[in-house]
């Protein structure tokens, strides 16, 4: 843990930091004023749509776009793959059309005639034995004396666990708009998680100077890790705009989005856990497998959190002809967490131990036992675990209650970011940063930090983000944004404030370093009655605004968090329906910048985890290799009535605050599937091996249904 950081004000001295500030862009979002990439309409704009490969794997023999080109309103139709090119999954873009309207473009895309040589494909990843030549064994890894560990065990518990491929399903689909201002200057609007480097990608594609490209993303409708890359639709959008001289919009249709624009790899494992009768873990052995598409899949980190246990692990990577995986909010962690926490929960059940006691006893195998212990005990109190836990399989009746728990960890160290803060002579303050707001609260974080530093109300701060012309900032991934932008904003505001105090100090007959800004006034710290109002002080600036610049400051941020979650479910053992009753999430994240948006991140992560646990799965047709549910009726997301009660507890003590800012977007999404799996096992009396825990999966585990 870092030393007390002098950079941030203490919790009890802060005005805005760590308090609840209403999201500053909320009014724009509830009125429809917020403009997203999808909302950009330009004069004479063309709409681009794609012809998609219907086969799991195929070689292109010929593409004939003439019928599409001949349709009224079509400006351009052409192949974007070469003859003989192999396509590795259904949904791959084969041809593009650009037309006067979206309707015409969609119709034309269907008129492109493509001849394929259909090739053998594989879309099955749930078992390495069925994958045959598509499976590739990776090198195993041992840590500690595993054989001695198993020899010392009183009981060895075995189980199979896993989670299938799910999609990101951002509500705003991927896509961009490109407009040539003249031959050398381009504007682009793009739904992206990294606006600062979008100009370079586009400039590279078009062979122009990056400074001649302006990329804008003021608001974006969700990314979750899927919106980092410069995609084929961005490329085609730019090329068509260049060729036609007209603005072009290319936003994906939902089926296209769900098939190709992002997925989380599957991960499954057979696990053996050695335990002593007193509950001490002695050894871990796992054989995992999974897929993230044609490239295979990454191996889960097993055992997760309890990584000091003697362990032996192997992994089989399975190539499937499915849309490639992209980083999905805490990559590989929800899957790793599910496999580990479920196996440990089964070990506790086999020993007839309360899992809370079992997990507490084994915390020395984790990196930060004291954090987990504190968080587990808070979660247990919020769930009334001690009063309500009933051992597995001890209930009768159709509807049974169950409790389950899980632990997780994440880094969240801030990325490199630049920021500038200007103060004008009329007192207006603007903070500018080339970051983006995925719905995470970047706008609000910048306003809170600047207001706190300058002693002003949050509403006095004008925030500018989402523009490649602004000071560059890193991509929003790995929960790195809040640390990067908050420390850079603090640095920039302090720089501007120093300049302001240098102007104001002579008026106050003091040295600049003796002066402070707080409560909308600039004053002498030792004699607060010697003061100027904010506007009065800014009147000394003159016609040229003051400009402060700032960079990410490592002293203001930290790395590494823990979290504990507990789930309560009801399982109807006759219908197999799992109902969420309650989810408790206890989370640390160092300094909380804005409590409102930080809590919303945790609530949202819990709900996304519930959705994964109960509903989501990309279903592939083994015969054709097509995706069977590329729509939101059959690719289900949790609705408002599906999530139960959610209780969030952020660790907001001076000790946590003293560490500095740490990202919070990812960690709380890791545990829900595991905690819910354990709660379902506790209620149903049997383990449902694979998420999602649908009625069919529950009934199958209970021996009442037909298997997959």
């Amino acid at each position: 843990m870092r030393e007390l950081n002098k950079g941030w004000p203490k919790l009890d001295e802060a005005t805005h930091l760590g308090k609840r500030t209403p999201r500053i862009d909320a009014a724009d979002k509830v009125t429809g004023r917020a403009k997203y990439t999808q909302d950009v309409n330009l004069d004479s704009m063309l709409h681009a749509k794609f012809t998609l490969c219907p086969h799991g794997r195929a070689r292109v023999q010929s593409v004939d776009a003439s019928a599409a080109q001949a349709l009224d309103g079509v400006v351009l139709a052409r192949a974007i793959v070469g003859e003989g090119e192999e396509l590795e999954h259904a949904g791959r873009e084969v041809a593009v059309v650009a037309a006067e309207s979206e309707e015409i473009a969609r119709e034309a895309a269907q008129l492109v005639r493509v001849e394929y040589e259909v090739l053998e494909h594989n879309v099955a990843d749930a078992s390495p034995d069925l994958a045959g030549e598509w499976a590739r064994e990776q090198r195993g890894r041992d840590q500690g004396d595993v054989d001695a560990g198993f020899a010392a065990a009183d009981v060895v518990v075995e189980g199979r666990y896993g989670a299938p491929i799910v999609t990101h399903c951002c509500l705003e689909p991927h896509g961009s708009v490109v407009e040539f201002v003249d031959e050398e200057h381009v504007n682009t609007w793009v739904s992206t998680q990294r606006i600062s480097s979008q100009d370079e990608d586009l400039a590279g594609e078009l062979g122009i100077q990056p400074e001649n490209v302006r990329a804008v993303c003021q608001h974006m409708g969700g990314g979750f890790g899927s919106k980092f890359q410069f995609d084929v639709w961005d490329r085609e959008c730019a090329r068509i705009a260049e060729e036609t001289g007209r603005p072009v919009k290319a936003m994906l249709d939902r089926d296209h989005e769900l098939m190709v624009a992002g997925s989380r790899p599957s991960a499954y494992a057979d696990v053996r856990v050695g335990v002593k009768k007193d509950g001490t873990i002695t050894a871990w052995e796992s054989r995992s497998w999974g897929s993230g598409g044609a490239g295979g899949g990454s191996s889960p980190r097993l055992p997760y959190v309890f990584d000091k246990v003697p362990q032996r692990r192997t992994h089989v990577s399975i190539r499937t002809n499915t849309g490639a995986s992209r980083p999905w909010r805490a990559p590989m962690s929800p899957q790793s967490c599910l496999i580990t926490m479920a196996a440990l929960d089964d070990a506790a059940a086999a020993l007839d131990l309360d899992p809370l006691d079992f997990f507490l006893k084994n915390l020395p195998f984790t990196e930060r036992p004291e954090v987990y212990e504190e968080e587990l005990l808070i979660a247990a109190r919020l769930m009334d675990w001690r009063g309500r836990f009933i051992p597995r399989a001890a209930q009768q009746g159709a509807v049974r209650r169950g409790l389950g728990l899980s632990l997780h960890t994440w880094g969240g160290y801030g990325h490199d970011s630049n920021c500038s803060t200007t103060i004008r002579g009329d007192g207006a303050v603007t903070v500018s940063c080339g970051t983006q707001d995925l719905g995470t609260g970047s706008h609000t974080v910048l306003a809170v930090v600047t207001a706190e530093t300058l002693g002003l109300p949050v509403a006095a701060i004008d925030v500018r983000i989402g523009d490649s012309l602004l000071p560059p900032s890193g991509g929003s991934g790995g929960s790195t944004t809040v640390g990067g932008i908050s420390s850079a904003a603090r640095d920039a505001a302090l720089d501007a404030l120093r300049q302001l105090l240098a102007r104001a100090a002579p008026e106050l007959n003091a040295a600049p370093e003796e002066c402070r800004a707080q409560g909308g006034r600039v004053f002498v710290a030792a004699a607060p009655e010697r003061s100027l109002g904010w506007t009065e002080a800014c009147g000394l600036i003159g016609p040229e605004a003051l400009s402060g610049s700032g960079r990410t400051d490592p002293e203001l941020m930290a790395d590494g968090v823990g979290g504990a979650q507990m789930a309560e479910v009801e399982v109807d053992v006759e219908t197999g329906v799992v109902a969420m009753k309650k989810l408790v999430a206890v989370q640390d994240c160092g300094t909380v910048v804005d409590l409102t948006t930080a809590e919303s991140q945790v609530y949202g992560a819990c709900i996304m985890g519930i959705s994964s646990a109960l509903f989501e799965e990309r279903v592939m047709d083994p015969t054709t290799g097509a995706c069977l549910n590329p729509n939101m009726a059959f690719y289900r997301l949790a609705g408002i009535g599906d999530v139960g009660e959610i209780v969030v507890h952020l660790m907001q003590t001076e000790a946590h605050h003293a560490r500095g800012v740490i990202g919070i977007g990812e960690p709380p999404v890791i545990s829900p599937i595991a905690a819910i799996s354990n709660a379902v096992a506790n209620a149903a009396g049997v383990r449902v091996p694979y998420a999602p825990f649908t009625p069919r999966a529950v009934l199958t585990a209970l021996g009442k249904g037909r298997g997959r």
Partner: protein, 199 residues
Amino acid sequence: MSEERGFSRRKFLQGVGAGALAAGAMPDLARGAEAPEDAPDLAGPGPVPVTLDVNGVRTTIEVEPRVTLLDALRSRLDITGAKKVCDHGACGACTVLLDGRPVYACSMLAIAAQGKKIETVESLAPGGELNAVQQAFVAHDGLQCGFCTSGFVLASEALLRQNPRPSHEEVLEALSGNLCRCGSYQGIKKASGAAPGGG
């Protein structure tokens, strides 16, 4: 979403039994159900004049009969508060009020919306002053990325106009046709009065 004769995908599915529907068949079935009985005979498939009464302003545009109300609003009238997400009648992001009732604008043709009073989220704060529902969404942080927000705001607005003091269950039912991916349901429940501390 209740109505006497207008199209409700949820009611439709309840009637047919969702399990009986094949994925591929659904959109066609859904689209077949939406034309009002008094719809005039229309020449197609080329553009036809369509007069829409949106937020109190009547505008005539030329669109093909196949253009949905959502696409007419968004790309012809540049009223973009309603979002296109599933384009399939499943997520509610395109919700608008039609004679006061919430409908999925993606699942209705523009020609079928003629003669109706259409309200989009832009109409709720005419002078920039947020209405009560909008204020509650801001106060309780009932949004994150904001892409589902106009749909949730309008579904809540429609409920509260009809039923100013809904029960917890009535709120969940009224908002069950809308989906959020960021997971803003906690704030939405509070904003809509379905959770303690809200209202």
